[in-house]
């Protein structure tokens, strides 16, 4: 059978995954602040309460920690809750329940009880999201045994990994990026899953391995495309999984290219990029022809003013300059500017995006 696919946005792909998961399993319930409201969490939950009713699709009190515990209680009692936070920053209010209970309930009771729970969270960026609406906290979650953590970049993966996460019997932190929601991708209409523990080679190349996370995959692919006719051939790996990291795929690539560059959406210190570097150094130190490079956010919370955020996020041009310099290749900067200068405003994902968040 020829499977039908079509171009849809990542927000639509996520919504479709939720709809199909709820269709196939009546134990799946959906809850979050704004889930049934007119905006439907950036369109990712629109129409689901109308379709599945008020006994399966819920708005919730502004009680993130308590509601996380309530969802854990439901998960250990036969339901499969999907909880949504419009910003990952809000999960800092539920770290007790996530780390002390969700991550450990199965382990501390020696495997007697599973916690089939999905926490959907969204990393904000641009349009003045500022210090408390634009954090990228994957490393916090990835530190905790018992959680699974994923950050898909493509719409195809977003749908397949969300379906896999909902079918999984473990707590999964499903990290979306606000700037990925509007990007279209070829997505099958039928349900399918994508593994929660596998990276993906997005582009083969011989000069350097760039491991990218979430939105940085988009930027890195732009860079790779621009650099190829300047004589630099990048291999781009979409990490997809943060816990567990797919080090097999990454190490195989580094063994081919001899160079490791990691592009993360988060701060550098204590970030997942450092974990990738450490794991490669432990397992394949002798494959490295030169020191690794981490491209990440400066160790500062995101500033709000668009004047200040301009240089805060490493965009494709920043990335290309850092990579060219690291590889010590003679390329005139104007060549990079000509190919990668962003003509749209720096603080929105697409020109048509006009806020508010």
């Amino acid at each position: 059978m020829l499977e039908t696919t079509r171009q849809i946005t990542q927000a639509e792909a996520i919504r479709e995954a939720l709809e199909q998961a709820m269709d196939e399993d009546e134990r799946v319930i959906l809850i979050g602040e704004g889930v049934p409201d007119p905006k439907g969490v950036f369109g990712t939950t629109s129409g689901l309460q109308e379709r599945f009713g008020t006994a399966r699709v819920f708005d919730m009190p502004l009680a993130e920690n308590g509601m996380t515990g309530i969802c854990i209680g439901a998960a250990i009692s036969g339901l499969r809750p999907v909880m949504v936070h419009q910003r990952i920053d809000f999960t800092l209010l539920c770290m007790d329940q996530l780390i002390n209970n969700a991550a450990k309930w199965r382990y501390m009771f020696a495997g007697q009880v599973n916690v089939p729970l999905v926490i959907r969270v969204i990393v904000g960026r641009g349009w003045g999201q500022g210090p408390q609406h634009a954090q990228s906290l994957q490393a916090l979650f990835a530190h905790v045994p018992g959680l699974k953590v994923v950050m898909p970049s493509s719409g195809y993966d977003a749908k397949g990994m969300l379906l896999a996460a909902i079918r999984d019997d473990n707590p999964v932190i499903f990290i979306e990026h606000r700037w990925l929601h509007g990007i279209t991708d070829e997505v099958p209409t039928l349900p399918y899953t994508v593994a929660l523990n596998k990276a993906m080679l997005r582009r083969p190349g011989k000069d350097a391995t760039v491991v990218a996370f979430s939105f940085m995959v988009i930027e890195t692919l732009l860079v790779a495309k621009a650099l190829v006719d300047l004589g630099i051939d990048l291999e781009v790996i979409d990490a997809r999984a943060v816990r567990p990291l797919d080090m097999t795929t990454i190490i195989e690539s580094v063994q081919r290219t001899g160079v490791l560059i990691v592009a993360d959406t988060a701060w550098k210190t204590g970030g997942i990029a450092g974990e990738v570097v450490a794991a490669v150094a432990e397992a394949a130190f002798n494959s490295l022809r030169q020191p690794p490079l981490r491209i990440a956010l400066p160790d500062l919370p995101a500033p709000t003013s668009h004047h200040l955020s301009k240089d805060y996020y490493p965009d494709a041009l920043h990335l290309a300059r850092a990579i060219v310099s690291h590889l010590n290749v003679a390329v005139a900067d104007i060549e990079l500017v000509n190919r990668l200068h962003r003509s749209t405003p720096h603080d929105v994902p697409q020109r048509e995006f006009c806020g508010p968040f």
Partner: protein
């Protein structure tokens, strides 16, 4: 109360409490051997609430608790040998040695879990009740919490959702006046805890926490209410912890609570109160003697079995982490 029924009820509550008391005393006696290498929070003095509430529940009803969970676990029907084996760190323990005294579970008995982060199981109880409602199961979920737990924000969040959705949750607040060494009046303003729960929309009930019959009567009413779809119930029971917060000993030499206060509460021993009632009835003394003998044998056997348990294997740990 029907007198015949009352005698059998007194006997069963007495026996449950006596068993808890003797188990806890046995743990305390053997603790110095340093083979129970984990914190223990003993329930001595607080047996009536566990016994009274759990007697009002069915096996299908679920119970959650916190760090001081032995009484709740035993009253709900949790396996004694598995509990002791857990405290000894044996593979036959209810958590195969991963949890110790502060992590109790016996799913077959409907004891759904106890963990020592204060307040951590309160939302889980609400979630379990929510799942029961959504799945059409006629279950009541009980969570035992202390006066200290009531200071945690997550309790307010949990009560709010339970009341909002009229979930079948019985919140049982065991108010023993102290959080570790800190008196209630140092931690909370002068107003009743149950008053806050009432303001949140709970159906509030009160019982003398050292009177197992009173607790049973009120809890039975609460459970009947919950089964008929009424508001969540917040049952506050005053009681008193006899031993130290954590460990096998008395700690009244530390002077954090007045000697007269300790003496007053010990005079209201929940077990002695029912023994007095039993002694006034035919064969009451025989029942007490028999109970002591049976319980003593059961506990000795359980300790022997627990101590003879096997050593848990490090290699099994990773398998518990993910399904």
């Amino acid at each position: 109360m029907n007198k015949a029924l009352s005698t059998s009820r007194i006997k069963s509550l007495y026996r449950v409490m006596l068993r808890i008391r003797r188990v806890e005393e046995s743990i305390a006696e053997r603790y110095a051997a340093q083979e129970m290498r984990c914190p223990v929070h003993l329930s001595i003095g607080q047996e009536a609430i566990a016994a009274g509430v759990c007697a009002a529940l069915t096996q299908q009803d679920g119970v959650f608790s916190g760090h001081r969970a032995h009484a709740h676990y035993l009253a709900k029907g949790g396996d004694l040998t598995a509990m002791l084996a857990e405290i000894y760190g044996k593979a036959e323990g209810c958590c195969k040695g991963i949890g110790g005294s502060m992590h109790m579970i016996d799913l077959a008995a409907g004891f759904l879990g106890a963990v020592p982060i204060v307040g951590a199981t309160v939302p889980l109880a609400v979630g379990a009740a929510w799942a029961a409602r959504l799945r059409g199961e006629n279950k009541v979920i009980t969570v035992f919490l202390g006066d200290g737990t009531f200071e945690e924000g997550v309790v307010y969040e949990s009560i709010n959702f339970a009341v909002l959705h009229r979930l079948p949750v019985l919140f049982v607040c065991e108010n023993n006046l102290y959080a570790c060494y800190t008196r209630l009046s140092t931690r909370q303003p002068e107003r009743p805890i149950h008053g806050v729960a009432a303001a949140c929309g709970c159906n509030v009930m009160l019982a003398d926490g050292n009177d197992a019959l009173a607790v049973y009567d009120v809890a039975s009413r609460a459970v009947a209410d919950l089964r008929s779809g009424n508001q969540p119930v917040f049952l506050e029971c005053a009681t008193y912890r006899w031993r130290e917060h954590c460990g096998p000993n008395n700690d009244d030499d530390l002077g954090y609570r007045p000697a007269a206060e300790v003496a007053k509460w010990q005079a209201f021993c929940p077990i002695n109160q029912l023994a007095t009632l039993l002694n006034a009835r035919p064969e009451g003394q025989d029942f007490i003697t028999h109970s002591e003998q049976e319980i003593s044998k059961e506990i000795n056997d359980a300790f022997t079995a627990a101590l003879a348990g096997s050593i848990p294997q490090q290699a099994d740990l990773p398998g518990y982490l993910y399904a």
